[in-house]
């Protein structure tokens, strides 16, 4: 069955939220920091753009408190894009979310890339008409976010690194967690709900369908056409690409032409994710990739993915 029907609450509002996520499937959502980048993204075939003040690689390099982007910036991007515009609020910062809804952004990302505003609570996403996407590293985290009203999950890679290893790790983790549920007996599901720290009803729903009740996208560290196809083949229904398109390294933007070629190649690879011939062509078209930062060499305290609970 299609996802929206399995959605616990069959309310119109939730179905509309998940419905927009359905429309983004098979596509690439690109981080952009100004109108020019938004135009490049749309021209390259992005299905949506994420309006940001700084991309994750810059946030990581510059440090400081990362907050919702400036309103002026978001409006500038909304004014040029004909595709959906997303924007990020801090974890638990429901007032930033209220502001983003008021602006009319199409999707709100309650994101670990920004500095969390609440150490215990995430935003009550049912209270909003605008759909939310949230990150997750395992099934329990995904189901807790869905219980709070998320209409889309993105598996958390390590944002702003250009290293795909954790996007892969967490996608595999969620797929494995789901597969295990499908072979469990009724009484084992109660125990599984406890272990995953997730509502039993949602656990049972996943056990029955073998998939999340909302679309599952992948994000964090995706930098090349092959990276995008990798997470697609592992089960991600669409991809978010952040720093990987517009950055050469953590401080420098790539030349517009190069970014456009990269964006186009990643879009192509996301559609033809299981066709090695086209993937070879897309990889050849694509010149340069961000230098990146190997996660294995990183200090655990500098990771963004551990934010969120």
């Amino acid at each position: 069955m299609t996802d929206h029907k399995n959605n616990g609450s069959g309310s119109h509002e939730l179905r509309l939220k998940v419905g927009l996520a359905e429309m983004l499937k098979g596509g690439v959502i690109m981080d952009v920091t100004d109108a020019q980048q938004a135009e490049i993204a749309e021209k390259a075939g992005a299905v949506a753009v994420m309006a940001l003040e700084r991309v994750p690689a810059q946030i990581r390099a510059e440090g400081g408190v990362a907050r919702m982007a400036s309103i002026k910036k978001i409006k500038e991007i909304m004014s040029v894009a004909s595709i959906p515009v997303m924007a990020k609020c801090r974890i638990g910062h429901f007032v930033e979310a209220q502001v983003l809804q008021e602006l009319g952004v199409d999707f709100i990302d309650e994101s670990e890339v920004l500095t969390p505003a609440d150490e215990l609570h995430h935003v009550d996403k049912h209270a909003f008409k605008t759909p939310f996407v949230c990150g997750a590293r395992d099934l329990g985290e995904a189901l807790r976010r869905i219980a709070e009203g998320a209409a889309m999950i993105r598996t958390k890679g390590e944002a702003g690194t250009g290293d795909v290893v954790h996007a892969v790790k967490h996608l595999r983790q969620i797929v494995k967690d789901m597969r295990q549920l499908t072979v469990m007996s009724e009484e084992e599901l109660y125990a599984a709900a406890k272990e995953h720290r997730a509502p039993y009803e949602l656990v049972r729903m996943v056990a029955k369908s073998g998939k999340l009740p909302v679309p599952n996208f992948s994000a964090g560290g995706i930098a090349t056409p092959a990276d995008a196809a990798l997470v697609r083949q592992l089960g991600a229904e669409a991809v978010f690409v952040g720093s990987g398109i517009f950055m050469s390294d953590s401080q420098t933007f790539a030349p517009a032409k190069e970014a456009e070629i990269r964006a186009r190649a990643i879009v192509r690879a996301t559609t033809f994710f299981d066709d090695p011939k086209i993937l070879a062509e897309a990889s050849e078209e694509c010149t340069g990739a961000m230098k990146g930062l190997a996660i294995a060499a990183m200090d655990a305290s500098s990771m963004m993915q551990t934010r969120g609970w």
């Binding site: 119109h12 179905r15 509309l16 429309m23 596509g27 299905v47 004909s82 559609t271």
Partner: protein, 219 residues
Amino acid sequence: MPHSTHATSPIIGVLALQGDYASHAQALQDIGARSLLVRTKEDLAHVGGLILPGGESTTFLKLLAREALFEPLQQFVQMRPTFGTCAGCILLAKKVCNPEQQSLGVLDATVERNAYGRQIDSEILTEETSLPGGPLEMVFIRAPRIVEVGDRVEVLARRDGAPILVRERNVLAATFHPELSEDRRIHRYFIQMVEEMENKGHRAQPKQTPATKPTQANL
């Protein structure tokens, strides 16, 4: 035989470049129709009818151009049964505005993109249509509006006066998403269109589909 899964029933293609193509394939499966995800020119040769799903029309256009699929698709939709929903409807129209963009140009209509506003203005309505069976649930998501239609376009449903479900010869188009509702009447109507056209001898080629091609397994 409307819902036959017999080997001679037509195969319905679903353009699978991006968007909610899996929901359409599921809808077809629900009513016992055979489906095939279409990503290449070669795939197009195997199908008797085609669905252009919801998604982002700009993304569809870029991919169609890059894969040299625009012209083969244009030839297909001129002759063969085609059903477009939302972005698919935008693609079929003769003229597109807000902003202006390229289209396949087979449906004599002008379509305005994002005409009802942003996601916050998306809604689910239940409206009358000319199809039997009572009012139909309609899911509108960042929907386009058909602002003008030609004389030969049959309007099957309206929202506040504007056409939302239309047919012109072999082309059926909806500005909403029947694939996101449980009601399968519109998909059944489309299968009937395909079967009627096949019976009239509009087939472009005999059935010679390899056994491995039509499948649900590739979803």
